[in-house]
């Protein structure tokens, strides 16, 4: 993985010292809350319901064991012994004290980590494929480009006061594991017929109160022109974005207002002005590429007898393999997804002990490489098949062996009203109730791929718009109600979900999801996922079943 150089470390040290001084001034009363708030937010520090929350950046969701152990230690030392992995591939600590924060930032900096780009109207942490460097599907390693974008965008003076926050995702595989089409900019690595590498550029996707799937404004951007083109997009946005209205300030509103074609025309015109000076030299890309080169892969046979024997003799291991283990580009290796969705647990939460175990496994078996997925799970991207039984046993021993990746209980949920100052309703407990209904692993496997995503308010941190089943918490005269949507997708077949009907009270949501699943099982044809069946039948049979008792 990429190692910070002296410049990176100096920036972090300066930033941390600056924040220490700002916190001191706030506590002494020399700064008002209105003056201090934007400063703390630019360091990832929010004030939530019960305490401050620190959002730690995990650039493109990539960690080593030293970093994960540090996060575990911070959560034990300064929090309540756990952290919450988010849909931005970041980690949130929910019980932080303002006075401790400068020390925490120093500790993060000691392992090349920080909380920059986790808040504010800047370019946020770039999302990348958690299988990068491990999947045979990819055209290039997207981490190279994500790291280059991190360096380019970090504290970029021109883009530190954008009309609104700005999120970029990059995928290099046809199967999109980044939700690229619902980002402000989605980049998909492509190859031209002549073998040249470049990007499909999608702009104006997003969720929140006005969801859009992004529009492709360039089918193929030569790879070496990426940064000038990004600069052109951001300049057009910076110039015309609606700073007058927070609800209309994201780039998606601008793209929709102008039309994708006109927006693209303006970007091309700006791009001409920007010229090639804004592009990164090939040498710099090559330097960054070097940091991600290779991996210490052994030459192994594609079949592992130890793996096959464990699979044949242990039902739990076989189930884990079916659902959580994915093909690797190298023979004899596998990608292992670690579910942070234990039945009845809080989606995305990991205890300090669990983080330590994952760090140990990465160090011992996994080339010191850990990823965070936007679906709030972890990944060990390079595990030898021979080592998989031991890895599974170690994970299962600390409650991380849940075999449910991509299944109905692998639910995205934001912190919701249990923690978040913006939320209208709880999301976590709704997820817990749904997962408990599908605790029978055979039944969950029979249902197959089903993405349930829950947000506690319209800001959509839980990605409900792109859930196969989306659940949005609303405040109805002070009570928790939930609007269900069906047919959304954040993957390569991205779509915004369609409303099912009137909002349901808290007590009825898990039961309604159960009903939706039963309708799907009744209606599905060979090989159809829930999403496929919904797209074929439309909303009618689902709606009829859920609201049957209302008629």
């Amino acid at each position: 993985m990429y190692r910070y150089d002296t410049l990176d470390r100096e920036i972090l040290a300066d930033r941390s010292a600056e924040f220490r001084e700002q916190v001191g001034r706030r506590l002494a009363g020399d700064l008002t809350e209105d003056q201090f708030k934007p400063l703390r937010l630019m360091n990832g520090l929010y004030l939530q319901l019960h305490a401050y929350m620190l959002r730690v950046a995990i650039p493109y969701g990539s960690l080593n064991s030293t970093q994960l152990r540090k996060l575990a230690w911070l959560s034990k030392t300064y929090d309540k012994g756990y952290g919450h992995f988010t849909t931005r591939q970041n980690l949130q600590l929910h019980w932080i004290k303002l006075a401790d924060t400068p020390d925490i930032l120093d500790h993060l900096a000691s392992v090349d980590m920080h909380a920059i780009q986790t808040s504010g109207n800047c370019i946020r942490n770039v999302t990348a494929d958690p299988y990068a460097g491990a999947t045979a599907e990819e055209i290039d390693d997207p981490r190279i480009w994500a790291e280059a974008m991190r360096q380019w965008s970090t504290l970029h003076p021109e883009f530190s006061f954008l009309p609104r926050k700005f999120k970029i995702a990059i995928t290099a595989a046809p199967k999109d594991r980044t939700a690229a089409k619902v980002h402000d900019i989605g980049l998909a690595v492509k190859r031209a017929r002549d073998g040249a590498m470049g990007f499909e550029v999608m702009v104006g996707g997003g969720m929140g109160r006005t969801p859009y799937v992004g529009s492709t404004i360039r089918e193929f951007l030569p790879a070496n022109r990426l940064f000038s083109y990004l600069e052109a997009i951001l300049r057009v946005y910076n110039r015309h974005g609606r700073r007058d209205n927070i609800y209309k300030a994201r780039i998606k509103i601008l793209v929709a207002a102008l039309g994708a074609e006109e927006f693209a025309r303006q970007v091309e015109a700006e791009w001409d002005k920007v010229g090639t000076d804004a592009d990164l030299p090939d040498l710099e890309i090559a330097r960054i590429r070097g940091a991600f080169a290779g991996g210490a892969f052994e030459t192994l046979p594609p079949r592992s007898e130890a793996f096959e024997a464990a699979k044949a003799s242990q039902l739990a291991f076989a189930r884990f393999v079916r659902n959580n283990v994915k093909p690797h580009k190298k023979p004899g290796y596998a990608i292992v997804e670690i579910s942070l969705k234990g039945i009845g647990e809080t989606p995305g939460d990991a205890t300090a002990e669990q983080m330590d175990v994952v760090a140990d496994l990465a160090e011992r078996f996994g080339q010191d490489d850990i990823r965070v997925t936007h679906e709030q799970n972890l990944v060990l991207p390079h595990i030898r098949l021979d080592d998989l039984p031991a890895v599974h046993a170690a994970l299962a021993a600390v409650g991380l062996g849940t075999p449910n990746i991509g299944l109905v209980s692998d639910i995205i949920a934001c912190p919701g009203l249990d923690y978040c100052a913006l939320a209208n309703a709880r999301a976590i407990s709704v997820a817990q109730h749904i997962a408990e209904r599908f605790a029978d692993a055979d039944r969950a496997e029979n249902v197959g791929e089903l993405k349930v995503k829950i947000s506690g308010c319209i800001n959509a941190c839980g990605h409900h718009h792109v859930g196969h089943i989306g659940i949005l918490g609303v405040d109805k005269k002070g009570e928790e109600y939930y609007q269900l949507t069906l047919g959304g997708s954040g993957a390569e077949d991205a779509a915004v979900g369609q409303a099912l009907g009137p909002a349901l009270p808290y007590e009825r949501v898990a039961e309604a999801v159960d009903t939706l699943v039963e309708v799907y099982l009744r209606e599905r044809k060979d090989g159809e996922r829930f999403l496929d069946t919904f797209r074929r039948t439309g909303v009618a049979p689902f709606k009829e079943a859920v609201y049957a008792d209302v008629h």
């Binding site: 706030r26 506590l27 002494a28 009363g29 008002t32 809350e33 004030l47 939530q48 319901l49 019960h50 305490a51 401050y52 309540k80 932080i96 004290k97 303002l98 006075a99 809080t346 009203l417 249990d418 923690y419 100052a421 913006l422 709880r426 976590i428 407990s429 817990q432 405040d475 005269k477 002070g478 009570e479 928790e480």
Partner: protein
């Protein structure tokens, strides 16, 4: 009936005004049945920027012979999150039980203004 709440500046802890200082337990909060007195307390709370952030009044409802925040959000603030038992609810006892069993749902007083600011 109303109470005055805020988050403590130094650590973000949910606190309540007891008439002379900020306290962590809702059970220790001063209760106001006089609107003018409540508003005066709120004004005083807002004037303590070195102590607290976002002071605002909350509406209360009777529960098991005690008073509890009317809105669900404020009860979560007074108790801790519902997914893990590691907030203020760990104290237990009758006052916590009354909060847990309280009913009544209404928008949190002051919340709309807070969201507008965030």
């Amino acid at each position: 009936m109303k109470a005055l709440t805020a988050n403590r500046l130094v650590d973000g802890e949910v606190v309540f005004w007891d008439g002379g200082r900020w306290v962590e337990r809702f059970a220790d909060a001063k209760l106001y049945d006089d609107a003018a007195e409540a508003e005066a307390a709120e004004a005083h709370g807002k004037n303590q920027p070195k102590a607290v952030v976002d002071a605002y009044l909350i509406d209360l409802v009777e529960s098991e012979g005690l008073w509890a925040p009317l809105s669900y959000r404020e009860r979560i603030r007074a108790l801790g999150p519902t997914n893990l038992n590691h907030g203020k609810q760990t104290e237990g006892g009758a006052a916590i039980a009354a909060l847990k069993h309280a009913h009544g749902a209404a928008r949190s007083t002051g919340r709309v203004d807070l969201i507008r600011r965030k």
